[in-house]
Symmetry: C2
Subunit: 596 residues, 2 copies
């Protein structure tokens, strides 16, 4: 198995050149996020990922988390790594400075999240969920709850979880049945939650659950769901963990991947009822959770990117080492490293070019999230927020679907060795497979994109995006660098295709919603490919303008090469998707259930 | 987990209507293969697959094969199932009647192979490899070897294996190093082979290895490889297993899938040398193995189809049962089974339509293999053989790649439950992942297609194929059934695209072989999609002509619906592939190794 080395050079390029970190650090609250600080954070995070997290990835997969009478035990080494992680300040990277966080931009956080997930996705899920719980509490918790819990969650002394799913309530949270009965200043919760990531463990001395439940007289459906904070141990007055609460992990799922991340069935109130505290307003629980939906979905999208990067590094290193077969173009030579074989190059470049496109797209969206929060100009904030709302489902859906495809290609590059667990390549495929499912399946993301986001502003956000893309296509076309102009027609054609399909989709969404939904994943994927092309086109323009010498030149020339590959070999997929969508989906909807 | 039910109705349709079983049974040697017999075989095989093999699939996956001091022990129940399999005559279905086989057509064998692999792919690998070894021996073994071993292999009393790969010799068999030193009437073999499927087990009392090795003075490379038969136990004069030979399984691989199929590291000659017998001519071993290459590759292609069918049945049954969410088109109703949601329909129809296309294509090719062997007219035999040679790499590559995609979609249909091993959906993905790798990776199939098959006859076989496809497109267009004509433009356009790309590929293969190879997998996949469209178009024409009433009508109308979906939602992929190929691959070949 190869060693994970964080792609710091490309991360820095994307942050500085495509996401304009410089401008970002001039926003109020981000004054400290200078490029110098960003460099230092990247280097330190890269070191931590390579030295501490990566070595635990394979052992964690083999051993998994275990449920004992005393609760869940994390895989060997994880508890110590988590302490180091917390001590290094990594749990509070994006956290509120008021509660001990560093308040750094999402853009910088995105790069760190990529590294944690590349090096050890099972581990990285714990801080990922913690960040979501922390934000929910920060936005909606009472001052008392915030003072009591946030410092511990931000510092990583305790971890937070999200308890949403129940057996009958997967994608449809309206069906949540867990009960919360008021009792003095708190509630007693009874019910069962499933698929609770890091729902219990021995890495910290407390676990704080955010739980969706219904109060006794709550209305049915989504309007009767409230959010509660349920600690594993009720804190004493001095903040130390006190009485054991009536919430327990009763079993762990046996999963395809992310074995070291315990996926818990959590039972609330087997005895007297689990003590919980209302977070925010009664019956507004779903809305409170949705406050952090964009952040959570963006981070899962980055997981897709991260596992793809890890799979690529492993496949590339293997392809450079493995000697097998002679070159077809010169049958007389000796055996060569398989990276020289054209089909292996196709696979590696398919991986690499899409990884770079995903990174650029996901990071630029992270910076847009920062601008939506912090820009002093309200109009600019609204513009950025509209784009974030529109495109986060695409970051989530497109990057996680590509994550699976790319991890699968990584297996293929290895040939027979790829199928052997010892090699490590198939763990990435197993781990990657969850990302298009949790935090809303690709179908849910696509329904959100087509059913809500696209039409919510009369298509204004999409029109603005298309206009920006068209102007990038024109820049490419007019550029004097002979390496750029040939990229223009492919990119421009993909933008035009997206525009055609957007019109169809807006019309279908209002007249034939079923047909729109039946093509919604195709539309989401198409949007992703074109957004990736947009960022690769921008990257190519900058690489040409800044070509430089030495290492810079090598980096920029490679960027021009991967951009070219993306335009020639990836973007054509948009033509297929265009045709698939424009043909409509009456054929899929007319079939009777008995015909399947 | 749902129960596997063999899709006998569709199998019969494909065999009878698309592959013309009636005409096949008039060929010399196939007189007994009447449609009535075929029906009986299908029903009996379906029963065996459902009742005996399917129940062992999940338990075999969980337990796996184990290596003990006494050799490899198959998972619980496998040995008994194998005895029943042999007693039922299934090992000799396609075998030579001279040695106890039933000599039935490959077409019928294909359906049985699909059922074995749908119900239990790990089990099915044992007879699959046995059939290959049997055929190699039948074609090239001496009379003495044939008399001694073939009856036992055909009856299933013993099993045969193929020992090709060595650590340094994966796809490149020229690098084989195992030594065979002559000693009297036999040879002594020394060396190590890896990835030996069912290389040892306790299901039969002997295992017969066919082994590639080099004699002492053999020339280097592929022209110095000979084929040897190495029994685990040397047979006594009465045919019973006698002295233990010096060949042993020294370890088992820990794999992503097919856990119940032992993948052995085989050591030959740790002590005095393993006794082996030359099969065929010295230094012709590779050519002898390649005699059965089409059969072996065709069967692995059918594995891709089979695992896709199994994944589809599981996903469909789950989608009919799982109630979640309301219909977007009527938000006021109650929760519905997820099969009613448009995006779930898209996934299920993407699975089903491609499965039907693969089945039709793979079975029609099996019938062509039969005609290539048995047709009384030499010109017809040559024509069929040319088509088989051209398209078997496509059956293997396209069906196994789709097998992975479809098994992955099957996981997705389940949402979170798909990631839980208990559900069963992810086993199909794990099992499916090996098929595009072994028996020649997709890249190797594509290199064979582009580098050898396409050009070997000046493109005649491809031209004949394209002409046949065009005439089917015209039939669609001219048909009076209003359901057919709309399919014509999509299919005709895909045929045209394949023709364009074929021209480019033939030219590139002779002038820029690296660029041709860099697009060869795209070309293989495109050929597969268009061949699938060709058979779905034929199926639609027949379904319209034979529509009938009652169950027949229901079946034929569903076929028209899946054909429509295939034309509208699958065939557009060919436009993307066309563009990807025609843009050339200079961009992939110009990149330096250090740039990856």
């Amino acid at each position: 198995m190869s060693t994970y080395i964080a792609p710091v050079r490309d991360m820095r390029f994307v942050m500085t050149e495509l996401a304009d970190l410089d401008a970002l650090s001039s926003l109020p609250g981000f004054e400290e996020a200078t490029p110098e600080l960003a460099d230092a954070v990247l280097e330190e995070a890269a070191r931590f990922a390579t030295e501490v997290l990566a070595p635990l990835n394979k052992t964690g997969d083999a051993q998994g988390a275990r449920l004992t009478d005393g609760g869940v035990i994390a895989a060997d080494g994880f508890a110590q790594a988590y302490r180091q992680f917390a001590e290094g300040g990594w749990t509070g990277l994006g956290g509120d400075p008021e509660f001990g966080g560093q308040g750094l931009p999402e853009l910088l956080h995105a790069a760190a999240v990529e590294m944690w997930n590349s090096s050890n996705m099972a581990f990285a899920l714990c801080p990922l969920l913690n960040a979501g719980a922390t934000e929910a509490l920060r936005h909606h918790g009472s001052d008392d709850l915030k003072q009591r819990y946030l410092p511990k969650l931000v510092s990583g002394a305790w971890t937070g979880t999200m308890n949403l799913t129940e057996p009958q309530a997967g994608s449809d949270l309206a069906a949540v049945r867990t009960k919360a009965v008021p009792e003095g200043d708190h509630y007693r919760l009874h019910g069962q939650k499933i698929f609770i990531t890091w729902g219990d463990h021995d890495m910290t001395d407390n676990v704080i659950h955010l739980v969706l439940a219904r109060t006794p007289d709550a209305p049915e459906g989504v309007r009767g769901i409230s959010l509660f904070l349920v600690p594993k141990f009720l804190p004493n007055a001095d903040g130390s963990p006190g009485q054991r609460n009536d919430v327990h992990c009763v079993s762990l799922e046996h999963k395809l991947g992310i074995h070291a991340s315990p996926t818990c069935v959590m039972s609330f109130g087997d005895k007297e009822g689990a003590i919980g505290y209302l977070v925010g307003q009664e019956n507004k629980g779903l809305a409170h959770m949705f406050t952090m939906m964009n952040e959570a979905r963006q981070k899962v999208g980055i997981q897709g990117l991260a596992i793809a990067e890890r799979a690529y590094q492993q496949a590339r290193d293997y392809a450079k080492e493995r000697v097998q077969g002679r070159l077809a173009a010169s049958r007389t030579g000796g055996a060569v490293a398989i990276i020289q074989h054209p089909d292996v190059r196709r696979m590696l470049l398919t991986m690499k070019s899409q990884i770079e496109a995903m990174r650029a797209f996901a990071y630029v969206m992270a910076a847009d999230m920062d601008r939506a929060h912090r820009h002093p100009d309200a109009a600019e904030r609204a513009l950025r927020q509209a784009r974030v709302d529109l495109l986060i489902p695409v970051v989530k859906g497109w990057c996680t679907e590509l994550g699976v495809d790319i991890a699968s290609l990584g297996v293929q590059v290895h040939g027979g060795m790829g199928f052997i667990e010892e090699t490590g390549a198939c763990q990435y495929l197993r781990d990657a497979r969850i990302a298009p499912i949790y935090e809303g399946t690709t179908g849910i993301q696509a329904a959100d994109l087509v059913g809500r986001k696209l039409a919510s502003d009369g298509g204004a956000a999409m029109s603005a995006l298309l206009a920006e893309m068209r102007s990038v296509a024109q820049e490419l076309e007019r550029n004097a660098d002979a390496r750029l102009a040939p990229m223009a027609p492919a990119f421009a054609a993909s933008v035009q295709a997206l525009e055609d399909v957007t019109k169809w989709m807006c019309s279908a969404a209002s007249t034939h919603v079923d047909e729109a939904l039946a093509s919604s994943v195709d539309f989401l994927m198409m949007t992703g490919y074109v957004c990736g092309g947009w960022q690769m086109a921008r990257a190519a323009l900058i690489a040409s303008a800044n070509e430089g010498a030495g290492e810079d030149q090598a980096f920029h020339r490679t960027k021009l090469a991967t951009a070219r590959f993306y335009m020639e070999k990836i973007l054509p997929k948009t033509h297929a998707l265009r045709e698939m969508i424009l043909r409509g989906a009456a054929g899929a909807m007319d079939i009777g259930i008995e015909q399947f």
